[in-house]
């Protein structure tokens, strides 16, 4: 596997920097961008309709009053986590192969966190009062409730968004300098130059940069764990059967990493094919991604087993009732769908042949994405629709606007991500050169 020739430093610059400068796949990009913009328009229409008519346009109502906005939020945020893990954790562990993946994985994180963050905001009912979540000396004399997980949420997501953006940008500055130096037109030189902050590769700058970058990585890893743990506490801190469990924080974090590695694999496969970067994103990278996906998937499977065990071992009638609702209730499709899509195709990754096949890895990853979506649906809806009092049992049916908002967020994700692929070097050039230097 390691007999693939390592590209020289200049080849790295040429192959990566020339993607934004002499964009190779203009037609495909415009088609994709057109689709993304169409989806984004759907999102805008849905949100405008929501602002005019209120959350009643959605299917969430008693007893399932969280519905799409919250489980899709959890799903999006989870996807984002792999970007930070690949970037930060693998950097600290000295896994150099991450250098080919970290840039677009982090960009994916940013786009996914934007999609995640918008959901609780539009779910507020009156999103224009978002600022009530922040502590400011209000004329009404009230403050946000810092003892509530709902208040923790905004701080966790906000911190995560800002720190991911800074981590991504600081890692990008030296490459923007390369773009500045390589761009032909004055306008491009100026724009890239402005964002490169005048980076000149001076020895002392590199020294400080490296210290800062590793330090931020060391901080980002516990941050990722804390963010999805915090999200799980939105559920676990309540009394609802099926939520009130100590397995929730690790279960959520691992599921997040699992779905995130799936989307990173998909993006890696598409990017390397569209931009002919097979020399940088090699089959070895796909092989390693496949292994990480398999490992995080098996850990997520452990969460499923333990969740069922937890309910049975508790002996609590409501806990067991919720478990039964999951495996045999109205929404059993979401439980079995999650198990089948998450874990059956995944077993193919035990074989090197499957891991090395871009098509199979892509299909398995897509299956995981859908499976994890079903899992988040299952965790939320099956716990809420029949909790304690039979008199308050109910059903949950998503409406057209639930779906249109969700499908619209795909545009909210794809639009900035496609702009990233078009204008920013999608692979970290200087870190690849560092490897090439040996």
């Amino acid at each position: 596997m390691s007999d693939i020739p390592v590209p020289s430093q200049h080849e790295v610059t040429r192959e990566v920097a020339d993607v934004p400068l002499r964009f190779p796949a203009r037609r495909a990009w415009w088609i994709a961008f057109g689709i993304a913009l169409a989806l984004l328009s759907l999102f805008v229409v849905s949100v405008v309709h929501l602002l005019m008519n209120g959350p009643g346009i959605w299917g969430n109502n008693m007893p399932v009053n969280w519905g799409f906005p919250i489980f899709v939020y959890v799903w999006w945020l989870g996807l984002g986590h792999a970007g930070t893990l690949i970037s930060a954790l693998l950097l600290l562990l000295g896994q150099e192969w991450r250098n080919a993946l970290n840039r677009f994985a982090e960009a994916m994180t940013l786009c996914a966190v934007i999609c995640a963050g918008i959901y609780p905001i539009i779910h507020l009912g009156r999103p224009w009062f978002l600022y009530w979540m922040f502590p400011y000396p209000a004329t009404m004399g009230v403050w946000p409730q810092f003892r509530s997980p709902l208040e923790w949420d905004i701080w966790a997501v906000m911190t995560y968004l800002i720190v991911s953006a800074i981590f991504w940008y600081i890692g990008l500055v030296p490459d923007l300098a390369t773009m500045r130096d390589r761009a032909r037109s004055l306008a491009k030189k100026r724009i890239y130059g402005l964002f490169a902050l005048g980076w000149r590769g001076q020895a002392i700058h590199w020294l400080r940069w490296k210290k800062l970058y590793r330090l931020m990585a060391a901080i980002a890893v516990p941050l990722v764990v804390s963010v999805h743990s915090e999200v799980s506490l939105l559920f676990a801190a309540g009394q609802i059967p099926g939520w009130h469990s100590t397995i929730y924080p690790p279960y959520f974090v691992l599921g997040a990493a699992f779905s995130g590695f799936a989307i990173v694999s998909m993006i890696a496969i598409v990017v390397r094919r569209a931009f002919h970067l097979e020399a940088l994103v090699t089959n070895r990278h796909l092989d390693l991604l496949g292994k990480v996906l398999l490992a995080s998937g098996l850990m997520t499977a452990y969460g499923y087993v333990f969740e069922a065990f937890d309910a049975l071992y508790s002996g609590d009638a409501h806990e067991i009732g919720t478990l039964m609702d999951r495996v045999g209730g109205v929404y059993l499709w979401s439980y079995w769908g999650a198990i089948i899509l998450n874990f059956l195709p995944l077993q193919g990754l035990w074989f090197a042949r499957v891991r090395n096949s871009p098509l199979l890895l892509f299909l398995i990853s897509a299956s995981v994405m859908i499976g994890m979506w079903m899992e988040r649906y299952m965790l939320l809806v099956t716990s809420l629709y029949q909790d304690f009092l039979p008199s308050s049992f109910g059903r949950y049916t998503p409406t057209f606007w639930d779906w249109s908002t969700y499908i619209g967020t795909l545009g909210l994700f794809l639009t900035p991500f496609l702009l990233f692929l078009r204008f920013i070097p999608s692979i970290s050039m200087f870190e690849e050169k560092e490897i090439a230097d040996g």
Partner: protein, 174 residues
């Protein structure tokens, strides 16, 4: 302006090892005002130039403490300012406060050292004399540059010295 001292002499090398060796040789030759520009961090060059930097971690620690202190002050202040009794639970609920305290600690322990790095680096600075050298653009590609600054005590001998290191090019930077 003809007699104004130049910014320095810039020599271009093909590999990091060549640059590192050149730095050592320049120091042996009595040059003191040296600098290096590379496409990626090269530890050997930093060591040869005797560069150290230990402040970034301290800025991060300070930022983290500031973040925790700020958020604790807000949480304690707001809960005393408008105490809400939720089923007799304590007003100062430390386990519940800890989550947001942690997030603010993380936020500030990243923002403060980033600002510190930019200030210590004197960045953003879009104009720098080194950019006047036409071949300097390659410093962000695959070339390694040694600069002997114009205020070096033995600057007059810098050109002769650099010639002995067989660089790809030597440029006078104004």
């Amino acid at each position: 302006m003809a007699d104004r001292a130049p910014f320095g002499l810039l020599a271009e090398f093909r590999t990091a090892e060549d640059l590192e060796a050149a730095v050592h040789a320049a120091l042996d030759n009595g040059h003191q005002r040296l600098d290096a520009f590379t496409p990626f961090p090269v530890e050997g060059v930093n060591e040869a130039l005797g560069l150290t930097e230990n402040r970034i971690g301290w800025f991060s620690l300070g930022g983290g403490i500031l973040g925790i202190a700020l958020m604790l002050a807000i949480q304690i202040g707001s809960n005393f300012n408008y105490p809400i009794n939720v089923g007799g639970r304590p007003i100062l609920a430390w386990p519940a406060f800890a989550v947001v305290d942690f997030e603010l600690m993380v936020l500030f322990s990243v923002i403060v050292p980033v600002l510190a790095m930019l200030i210590l680096d004197r960045l953003p600075k879009l104009h720098h004399p080194i950019f006047n050298a036409p071949r300097f653009a390659l410093a962000s590609d695959d070339r390694f540059f040694l600069l002997i600054k114009g205020d070096d005590p033995r600057f007059t001998e810098a050109g002769l010295f650099l010639d002995t290191r067989n660089p790809v090019s030597i440029e006078r930077v104004e």
